[in-house]
């Protein structure tokens, strides 16, 4: 038996389709992955933000399509995201065949709740089988489930699995070999009210001894949720996460940076000419600029995966919930925003853990305002060049304070933006905030690895394709048309001349009237255009366009830079404007793309890009005016 993706969503229209239904955290995805491996396709549903995964299961005498539907607690939908599951089951989604059989996946440790969904699925009257996950935990907590009796009580086949250890998978495959042969219940179970509660109770009474509540979890929570100890541990963990992503990943990132830099030069010199320059300085350097982030992304995903699967993230979200609530967000938003300090892209992807669409959107839209690591080179350069290195109070200096201030501005703006959205664009009624606190569990290496792989691959693929395209385009615009610089210039000056007369350079000059109030000239403008691909490009573009004869470092060159009439380009008001602009502008096109994908819309990314750009302009203008007034 093997699984593979046929390359189209519905591999074989005549194949039997089995849909996997279950509540979130029941272990559906683990089971699906165990049956279908990494090679399943993710497919979107129109109009909603949840997606499904489809894979193919090859059995001796047939081919099955397995569909992992979005998790839901009930088939009486309360939101479009839940409705889509019901629609998919009934065959009302365009282009999606209704499933021929249903497999309900339920957490064996919470059967009293899981049976609620089971009753609704059974009432659909299709061939149904029940797979119970985490059966080992039931036994560990002194519970007992008699599969045979449960199967008779429900009227359908029941199989127990231990998902992460692969126990019971063969039985599942055996079941899947013949869905038509599954037992069917004689009577449809009640789906609501006291009758259903009675039905649940009687099913449990005949076949289950319920497991005890997990004492170990209670004891750990007594510490981790303690008002004082819990809060301290929480803050320490968040700080450690933050620090780790920043510092631990740095050596690997530096190494990748050198690798790509050397590779770019090698390609350029080996191939030579325009093509070499395009491939080396354009493509390799461009793709490298994105892939440099990979260690950070991997580390971030790894730490989040561990915290999530152990069960701690639910506690962290609990502790942050009240503060987040003030801004119309929830505890889970805090965790998302924290990871946005490294990079907004995986953070936006992480909003999938937020069930409420309104809060998910608010969190997604605020994530880009967190000071991501791409802004760091820009801030570092500007501060090093233009903020005087003076001590304010002992070791605390003006430069450090400025950096901290920029971070704080980003974070507070993000929260304010979320609050604003909640009062204006996101006014739909909001579901109750509920977070399940799972028992603490030892995470399985396999599920953690899968989680990290998913995130890293998605990042690489999406960002890489967009960045690749944009960088290639930018390179062309900065090097076309090819003009001959006048004699007597150094190589660096000649490069700058060529750039000034390229399409991009002329574009930079053309938009000068727009950005003149902010104090930007063509060189700053070209760098700004470049930063649309990746914010760090701002720094590298400035390096190239401010080429000079001396061997001065970039900060010094920027300090000396004058325009055609001998006035300094980087005055304090201009620097302030640049910094504030970077705090607010959504330059990172990859982020815009991911926003569109995760919100399954065009309106949200467009709104984010447009409004943040407009606000950045106004805020930069204010900064320019204020600083000009203060320093004159």
């Amino acid at each position: 038996m093997s699984c593979h993706d046929e390359g189209s969503l519905l591999a074989d229209p005549t194949a039997t389709t089995v849909a996997i239904v279950g509540s979130p955290n029941a272990g559906k995805t683990t089971l699906f992955n165990a049956l279908c491996g990494l090679r399943a396709k993710t497919a979107n549903y129109p109009g909603v933000t949840v997606s499904r995964r489809e894979g193919t299961l090859h059995l001796p005498d047939r081919v099955l399509t397995l569909v992992d539907l979005p998790g839901t607690y009930s088939l009486s939908p309360v939101s479009p995201d839940e409705e889509i599951v019901v629609d998919a089951l009934e065959g009302r989604v365009e282009g999606v065949r209704p499933p021929d059989a249903l497999m309900v996946v339920a957490d064996a440790t919470t059967l009293e709740r899981s049976l609620l969904l089971v009753s609704e699925v059974l009432a659909l009257g299709r061939p149904t089988a029940l797979v119970l996950t985490m059966v080992d935990e039931v036994a560990a907590r002194n519970g007992r489930i008699d599969m045979g009796r449960l199967s008779r009580a429900l009227g359908v086949p029941v199989v127990g699995v231990i998902g992460h250890r692969g126990v019971g998978l063969d039985e599942v495959r055996e079941l899947l070999a013949d869905p038509a042969g599954w037992d069917r219940p004689v009577l449809s179970p009640p789906t609501s009210g006291a009758e259903r509660s009675g039905w649940v109770a009687s099913v449990l009474a005949t076949s289950i001894t319920a497991p005890e509540m997990d004492e170990r979890t209670r004891r750990i929570d007594a510490v981790l949720l303690h008002p004082v100890a819990g809060t301290v541990i929480f803050l320490a963990t968040m700080f450690a996460l933050f620090q780790a992503v920043f510092t631990v990943a740095a050596p690997a990132m530096d190494a990748l940076d050198s690798l790509f830099s050397n590779l770019a030069h090698a390609v350029d010199s080996l191939i030579g000419g325009t093509l070499g320059s395009f491939l080396g300085d354009g493509i390799v350097a461009g793709v490298g600029a994105v892939l440099v982030f990979l260690p950070q992304i991997v580390l971030l995903f790894l730490m989040l995966a561990l915290l999530e699967k152990v069960g701690y993230l639910a506690r962290a979200a609990l502790l942050a919930d009240r503060v987040m609530g003030r801004f119309g967000l929830e505890g889970r938003s805090f965790v998302v925003m924290l990871s946005a300090f490294a990079c907004a892209i995986p953070a936006i992807m992480a909003t999938r853990t937020i069930p409420s669409e309104r809060r998910r959107l608010a969190t997604m839209m605020s994530a880009p305002l967190m000071t991501c690591s791409a802004r760091l080179p820009v801030y570092t350069l500007m501060i090093a060049a233009f903020v005087p290195d003076r001590s304010v109070m002992g070791p605390i200096g003006t430069q450090g304070l400025t950096m901290f201030g920029l971070y704080l501005l980003g974070a507070l703006s993000g929260l304010a933006w979320a609050a604003l959205l909640n009062v204006t664009a996101l006014r739909s009624p909001t579901a109750p905030v509920m977070m399940e606190l799972p028992p603490y569990r030892m995470p399985s290496a396999k599920s953690v690895a899968l989680y990290v792989w998913d995130g890293a691959w998605a990042f690489t693929r999406k960002a890489g394709t967009v960045i690749l395209g944009v960088t290639a385009l930018l390179w062309v615009l900065l090097n076309v048309p090819s003009v001959t610089p006048p004699p007597g210039l150094t190589d660096a000056q000649a490069a700058s001349y060529r750039m000034e007369h390229s399409i991009a350079g002329r574009a930079g000059a053309a938009i000068e009237p727009v950005f003149a109030p902010l104090g930007f000239n063509w060189q700053v403008n070209v760098a700004m255009i470049g930063s649309l691909a990746a914010r760090e490009v701002f720094v590298s573009t400035l390096a190239v366009t401010t080429a000079s004869e001396s061997e001065e470092a970039l900060p010094e060159r920027l300090q000396r830079l004058t325009d055609g009439e001998g006035r300094k380009v980087f005055t304090p008001p201009t620097v302030a404007a640049i910094l504030v602009f970077f705090v607010y502008a959504l330059q990172c096109l990859s982020t815009v793309v991911v926003l569109g994908r995760e919100s399954n819309s065009r309106k949200w990314p467009a709104m984010a890009f447009g409004s943040m750009f407009a606000f950045a302009y106004v805020a930069a203008l204010v900064a320019h005016t204020v600083v000009a007034a203060v320093t004159s």
Partner: protein, 97 residues
């Protein structure tokens, strides 16, 4: 009384969940806050909100504004119910309905 008024350590039985016009409170029922269910108030977050509740074999947090919608009564023998929650709560809920 409402679930939000129950004290930490208490066990209560749900009588009903109030619905507002948008009906999103049905989420509470989907998750298991149904009439006849025994709920134990386990702990409050350090800042007072949300609160952790234990029911039907699992633990879940609810904010005060949601807990306020749930109408409950004390389990007569609250101490006993707390000792046996998770083991016998299922049977008790069954017996109650």
């Amino acid at each position: 009384m409402r679930l939000s008024e129950a004290r930490v350590g208490d066990s209560v039985v749900i009588r009903g969940v109030e619905q507002t016009e948008h009906g999103l409170e049905r989420r509470l029922e989907h998750v298991g806050f149904l009439p006849g269910t025994v709920v134990r108030v386990e702990r409050r977050a350090p800042l007072g909100d949300p609160t952790i509740y234990e029911l039907r074999g699992f633990r879940i947090t609810l904010r005060r504004d949601s807990a306020q919608l749930i109408d409950v009564v004390d389990v007569i023998d609250a101490a006993d119910a707390a000792d046996t929650t998770g083991r016998d709560a299922g049977t008790e809920a069954g017996a109650g309905t």
